[in-house]
């Protein structure tokens, strides 16, 4: 191997090592700070303590916010899985004018500034007289999750061999049954991957949610940022650590079901 190639490889692996380090350090630091006895963010912590975790149990607003965020995420993901899959099927199977434009449109909310989308939605809903925060949030969150589902399922369907459905029909299945029996197992990983990322995107969303929350209905990210601005102390680290651990568990389950490599194609 020539010296240039060797140098390039060394550089590549060094940069990668640094990248991995910088990706994981924030998470590790959060975990450490959450068990620190000090209320200032010192590293290394002078002593260990679980008092910040105890505090989270006593926060009145926290658990309703968690419940709200999880419910929103689940519901919006479910709705998106249905709408998005139907859309993906149409985009793969049918040919009609403007198909490429429609595809770009369906995926575009991902690339638009969330704040702008949030404020626009808020204005329109107010004009229409809708004041209920819960419904507004749900409407907004489906806009967040729908592109994830459409994109991933579309990519999966593009690779799908539709003659399999015809084969199933020649073997005795009715058309809808053939569709279900053949397509669902093949699409299951795509559902899982896109559903997972849609769920996490909804759970994590700030820009759209901040405009649609009200005093009694706050999502978790909104609440967390509020805490950070009002009284920053390691309680936030405790909440964050809880989320990190939860995410690790979810990802382990997802890896078991679909494999990390599939997840990388979100």
């Amino acid at each position: 191997m020539m010296p240039l190639e060797r140098a390039a490889l060394v550089a590549m692996w060094t940069i990668t090592a640094l990248v991995v380090l910088t990706l994981l350090t924030p998470l590790v630091v959060t975990l450490i700070v959450s068990v620190s006895a000090s209320s200032v963010f010192n590293l290394p912590p002078p002593a260990l303590s679980v008092r910040w975790y105890e505090r989270t149990l006593r926060l009145r607003d926290l658990w309703p916010a968690v419940r709200l965020s999880v419910a929103l995420a689940l519901l919006s993901t479910a709705i998106s899985l249905v709408l998005g899959t139907l859309c993906a099927i149409a985009l793969t199977r049918a040919s009609f004018p403007g198909k490429t434009t429609l595809t770009t449109f369906m995926v575009s909310p991902l690339m638009m500034p969330g704040l702008v989308v949030g404020v626009a939605l808020l204005s329109m809903l107010r004009e229409l007289g809708l004041r209920d925060a819960w419904t507004s949030l749900l409407i907004g969150h489906v806009v967040i999750t729908l592109p994830y589902v459409t994109r991933t399922v579309l990519a999966s369907l593009t690779l799908f061999d539709f003659t399999l459905i015809e084969a199933a029909r020649t073997l005795g299945h009715s058309p809808p049954r053939a569709l279900v029996e053949v397509m669902v197992p093949v699409l299951a990983p795509a559902f899982l991957t896109s559903g997972l990322f849609a769920f996490l995107a909804s759970l994590d969303n700030y820009p759209i949610s901040i405009f649609l929350v009200d005093a009694r209905n706050k999502t978790l990210p909104t609440l967390m940022l509020q805490y950070l601005e009002e009284n920053p102390d390691p309680t936030i680290a405790a909440i964050s650590s809880g989320l990190i651990v939860l995410t690790i568990v979810v990802l382990l389950v997802a890896d078991r079901l679909v494999g990390l490599r599939r997840l990388a194609e979100f």
């Binding site: 990668t16 910088t22 990706l23 994981l24 590293l43 638009m112 500034p113 967390m224 990390l260």
Partner: protein
């Protein structure tokens, strides 16, 4: 033996059936039109309406103010720097990921996907801890002798770019990795047999073939950087103004809806521009199949 007569009639083309499937797209598309496109159009209309009449006064006022230009410059500069840092770090990482064998590749993927899945508030908060004067980054810099005294990283643009680039890294690495995975190793071998050395092989074969992934990654990271709110709020605080921060301020604190809608449309225009540009570039770089 008699042959059963078979009548052959002209069969109409199967168009109606295809069109029926197309309607499956309606619920999803209609939803996005109503909940996403319409509100944005209404916002656009608000921004060009003054006292009930069509007027571009809002824009004129905004664009005449040098403060506005500073904000726009801040936004684009930070986004560009973040994207460049992300690209420089993410491009080699994508190759490493593609070359890594089974277990190592799994670990690298986990290292990328885990931060991706954890929320932006959690990550931005973690970076506020890391970038403190007594934080880990400074301790390392001083410890390895790169600097003599701790740098002020929090509430500086460099700190912001570094933190944001780090948070957006998976969005750069994964699209590029997806493309690198698909490159046929025979192509660089063929180039070598034709006399191309390592540098030429990279520049004339590998690099062009990775472009679709690079364009996707850059488009993602740049749009996310343009729109980011939580990260600059936590890492830069009040003094730094980007378009997103200005939008939030206008609506949430200043209650100035006309300014808010004007700035929103400016931000939106830039975002749409990025999408359109990346789509055009992607078409140019995608080998025709």
């Amino acid at each position: 033996m008699s042959v059963a007569p078979v009548a052959v009639t002209a069969v109409s083309p199967r168009q109606p059936r295809v069109e029926r499937i197309a309607w499956l797209a309606l619920p999803g598309a209609a939803y996005l039109v109503v909940a996403f496109a319409v509100p944005l159009v209404l916002l656009l209309l608000t921004s060009v309406t003054r006292d009930g009449r069509l007027s571009l006064a809002g824009y004129a006022q905004f664009l005449a103010d040098p403060f506005s230009w500073m904000v726009i410059q801040n936004t684009i500069r930070v986004a560009a720097l973040t994207t460049v840092v992300c690209l420089l770090a993410g491009y080699p990482a994508a190759f490493a990921l593609a070359r890594a064998g089974g277990a190592l590749q799994g670990m690298l993927l986990a290292a990328l996907i885990l931060p991706l899945s954890v929320g932006v508030v959690v990550k931005a908060f973690a970076w506020t801890i890391l970038l403190r004067t007594d934080g880990l980054v400074n301790r390392m810099l001083v410890g390895t002798g790169v600097v003599d005294t701790p740098l002020r990283l929090l509430f500086t643009e460099s700190g912001l770019v570094f933190g944001a680039a780090n948070i957006f890294l998976p969005f750069m690495v994964l699209p590029i990795f997806a493309v690198v995975k698909l490159i046929d190793p025979r192509l660089t071998e063929a180039a070598a047999t034709l006399g191309a050395g390592p540098l030429r092989r990279f520049v004339r074969v590998t690099l062009p073939l990775t472009m679709p992934g690079v364009i996707a990654g850059v488009a993602f990271v740049f749009s996310m950087s343009i729109s980011m709110y939580v990260i600059p709020t936590l890492l830069m605080g009040d003094r730094f103004k980007t378009l997103s921060i200005l939008v939030a301020r206008s609506f949430l604190f200043m209650r100035d809806r006309s300014l808010g809608s004007t700035v929103s449309v400016v931000l939106l225009t830039i975002a749409v521009g990025v999408v359109v540009l990346s789509a055009l570039l992607a078409r140019r770089w995608q080998p025709e199949r």
